[in-house]
């Protein structure tokens, strides 16, 4: 059996450059993603159909299915690319933090600022996240696990630096911080809270969650 390893593929591509067909495929894919992003933002996850997305992209539903297995795959693709970008910003912000509380606040604030202009998409994502089947798939997306990992790392660093006690239950605290971070989006989606207002609320909540873990 002949296996094509990823290295072979890349080296081949480097020699010949992407073929015209590959470029056309990439363009189609990007058109579908742009149309889907718009429709999910306007009509929510359930309200946007593959048929409408195809029409908005100016192509057949067959062309959409050539690129994505189903709507849930398409939606996750959008979320993964956004969240991967956001995680880069979060890591950058956290590297400038002064202390554990500030680091966690920077995680929250970077997320709220990132989604400020795309709250409808965030709303669609929350709706999917609670759905019986798609919900679990959604939560297992790599970039979501990564933010939770960043929060956990920051708490662990806090323990190592002696800001938090050795007995701080970092796992439970990290999970609760993550829940609090997500739950606050509700105020932005329905209450029109600004990122600044969310940040002020988050600062108090982070203090409450970390209070018992502080040394001394």
């Amino acid at each position: 059996m002949k296996h094509v390893t990823p290295t072979e593929v890349t080296s081949e591509a480097r020699v010949k450059g992407p073929t015209r067909r590959a470029l056309a495929k990439l363009q189609t894919r990007n058109k579908v993603l742009a149309a889907a992003r718009k429709l999910f933002s306007e009509h929510g996850y359930e309200g946007a159909t593959i048929r409408d997305i195809a029409a908005a992209a100016g192509m057949s539903t067959g062309a959409v299915f050539a690129n994505f297995t189903d709507k849930s795959d398409l939606f996750r693709d959008i979320m993964v690319s956004d969240l991967t970008k956001l995680n880069g910003e979060i890591r950058e912000a956290v590297s400038r933090a002064r202390g554990v509380e500030d680091a966690i606040l920077k995680v929250f604030a970077t997320g709220y600022a990132f989604y400020r202009t795309q709250m409808p998409l965030a709303r669609a994502a929350f709706s999917v996240s609670w759905a019986p089947e798609d919900g679990e798939l959604f939560h297992k997306m790599e970039p979501l696990a990564e933010v939770q990992q960043i929060i956990l790392e920051q708490l662990t660093l806090g323990v190592e630096r002696g800001e938090l006690s050795q007995e701080a239950e970092v796992k439970l605290r990290a999970q609760m911080l993550w829940e609090a971070y997500l739950a606050n989006y509700r105020h932005a989606i329905y209450g029109g809270w600004t990122p600044e207002a969310l940040q002020a609320r988050a600062r108090d909540q982070i203090r409450v969650i970390l209070a018992g873990a502080r040394r001394g």
Binding site: P132, A180, Q205
Partner: protein
């Protein structure tokens, strides 16, 4: 019975049938997958008559939940004044009552959570997170703690309510994904309450 009276009672009967059918469907399929057409079929009424009683699917679900939650809050109204102990202990009892009440309807509760972000929410719907009684109940408990001296009067109580609410919703995921039994949910919530309580104690 007059014509108008008959119409009223027919409408009330339709309403009850729709609510029963919806309760069943939402619990089985989740909120997003259940359609108004399916609800109508199961209730044995036309889609049109569903819409004479309810403005949207979201409104149907919030009526289903409201009927059920009225029962829960009636129980809490009786029990809460009798609760003793620290604020953390009283919160633990209150949430344990919530979990015990929802234990056979976990899927329905998850549907209720999913609907909070639905696009078609009308003004008649009360999704999770906008239930005043839930918020007031927790806030009353915290205020009593302030009066009794085990809650810091300077604490951001609404922020604490949100933390508890987030923890409560999150705990349902244990049921959805890991098939956790009700006592595991209660344990998970107790732990989170304990941790939040160390954050709102007077310093």
């Amino acid at each position: 019975m007059s014509g108008a009276g008959l119409r009223q009672s027919q409408k009330a009967a339709t309403r009850q049938r729709v609510l029963a059918a919806a309760c069943d469907l939402f619990a089985r399929q989740g909120y997003e997958a259940a359609t108004v057409r399916q609800i109508a079929n199961l209730a044995g009424v036309s889609v049109g008559s569903v819409f004479t009683c309810f403005a949207s699917k979201a409104e149907i679900l919030s009526e289903v939940m409201k009927d059920r939650l009225d029962e829960l809050y009636a129980e809490l109204d009786r029990v809460v004044p009798c609760l003793r102990g620290s604020t953390a202990e009283r919160l633990r009892s209150m949430f344990a009552i919530h979990f015990a009440f929802e234990q056979r309807h976990i899927q329905l509760f998850l549907a209720h959570l999913a609907a909070a972000y639905d696009w078609t929410l009308g003004p008649g719907a009360t999704p999770y997170g906008r239930n005043r009684r839930f918020q007031e109940l927790i806030l009353d408990c915290l205020n009593r703690g302030v009066a009794e001296g085990d809650v810091d009067p300077g604490a951001d109580l609404l922020g604490v309510v949100d933390l508890l609410r987030a923890a409560y919703a999150w705990t349902y995921r244990l049921a959805a994904w890991e098939n956790a039994a009700v006592d595991q949910l209660v344990d998970a919530m107790d732990q989170q309450i304990g941790l939040i309580a160390t954050g709102f104690r007077p310093r």
